[in-house]
Amino acid sequence: MNKIILENDKIKKEELDESIKYDLFTNDTFGISSLTLEITKDTSLEIDYDFKEMTKIETIIVVNKNVNLQLFEKITGTNAKKRTKYYLKENSKVKISKFNNIEEIKEYTIINLDEKHAVIEYNLKTISEHDENYDILTYHNASETISKINPNGVNIKDGKLKFNVSSFVPKKIVKCDASQNNKIINLTNNECIINPNLYIDEYDVTANHSAWIGTFKSDELFYLMSRGISKTDAIKLLIKGFLTNKMDIAEEEKELIKNTVDNYWR
């Protein structure tokens, strides 16, 4: 697997083959580092961001025509403002599995489905213990494009988690499929917010969205406890399931997420 490890806004390590072209430069006007990746062949890629101090960074990912990308993105550290832009060309398919375990973050994601038959599945999992704010905007700029946007978070401690998720289909862009499945498990009394927006200006479109904020279902908890699992362990099990579900990643990575949960709920 191709891999890039960043510490703050610097590349610490990269192992990339010829399927990925990259560049990292600082925008002189705004002083923000910008990592640009062009995906030219079918591949899988892992990007690890470790923000040891407050960092502003932009990542731009261009996926070329007929290319499949499987991306695993991991964010750890203290504080960041991160902007990510995806540009998907004709018949490109991108599946993103993303795990955030950072103290505070403002993340702005723009997905451009620029040409026909571009498909994106975006699975975000986060453990929010302070302020986390996610804006995810998906633009269906071409007909017959598909987006499945699934932001999921567990809110704990002083966490205040917010998802603003918007999907856009303008007039004359037809036969698109835009879906959102937003879910926050709120284990605090703090306020969490989901704004699921569909801006659809065309009739010939399939679109749906869901938003759910709450704790785990009582029948799920009862079922696990009826097998002798303590309430604490049952909740841990449900959190682990919630954070690894639909994540197309290696078993070791899933174990890493499960260990993170264990560290929070010792």
Binding site: S218, I229, N245
Partner: protein
């Protein structure tokens, strides 16, 4: 030898009384079947025995081995050896059957060995004619009705309970799955001699699991008890009060 005793139990949910002065005693090695029309409180009984907090015990007690367990949390009841096989087990996305069962066994026995666990689960999956891949899938995720019921029986085998409540374990099963489930419950019974409480609507499950006692439940209470011949009467007359002699007398 274990005894589950329910004495004068009255239970309500959302201010509606479901169980009314319910009495029952089940000992290890005994198989009891409860039959009755829909909405009479049979499933409520099974949930209340396991301590579902959605139900309120208004009066009466549940005892396990003479210890009152009314306020005991569900997980502790399960660790005593109580097991509920669900009519409609929930689907829990993301939590694999293997992780779930490992957590359940670890809560029961901290010294359990992973190798023994894997060996045992593989043997039981084969015995139940289940797909081996299902142990890595989410709990009941995408399972058919039959697979869900077999999964319940798999859990029974893995957790080795001493007191088993099976709530309409036969519903939604085709004949082959019914046979596999019925035979495996009996196989477990022959080996471990647990107490079994079967809740069912149909005689067909009782072709495999032979009850010592059959109870007819109506309006939240047992109104008649007999042996397995009572099942034939129910098949013949339905739940006709006059023919079965099961008139419910309302309390003033």
């Amino acid at each position: 030898m274990h005894t589950l005793k329910i004495k004068d139990l009255t239970v309500s949910v959302e201010n509606k009384t479901i169980l009314k002065n319910f009495n029952l005693e089940i000992k290890s090695g005994e198989i009891h079947a409860i039959m009755g029309p829909n909405g009479t409180g049979k499933s409520t009984l099974s949930k209340v025995i396991m301590g579902d907090s959605n139900y309120k015990v208004e009066k009466g007690n549940i005892y396990f081995d003479d210890k009152e367990i009314n306020n005991m949390p569900t997980d502790e009841r399960a660790r005593l050896g109580l097991f509920l096989g669900y009519q409609m087990p929930p689907e829990i996305e993301g939590v694999s059957n293997a992780d779930f069962l490992r957590a359940a066994i670890h809560n029961k026995d901290e010294n359990f060995k992973l190798y023994d666990f894997i060996k045992k689960i593989n043997t039981n999956v084969e015995q139940l004619s289940m797909d081996k891949q299902m142990i890595h899938r989410g709990i009941n995720e995408g399972f058919s009705g039959g697979e869900r019921k077999k999964n319940e029986i798999l859990q029974m085998y893995m957790l080795e309970p001493n007191t088993i409540i099976l709530d309409e374990i036969d519903s939604g099963l085709d004949v082959d799955s019914l046979r596999v489930v019925g035979e495996n419950v009996m196989k477990y019974y022959e080996k471990e001699k647990p107490a079994i409480l079967l809740i069912t609507h149909y005689q067909r499950l009782l072709d495999y699991i032979k009850p010592d006692y059959v109870h007819i439940m109506k309006e939240g209470a047992i109104v008649k008890t007999g042996d397995k011949n009572l099942v034939s009467e129910i098949e013949k007359y339905g739940y006709d009060d006059k023919k079965l002699g099961t008139n419910v007398v309302e309390e003033n």
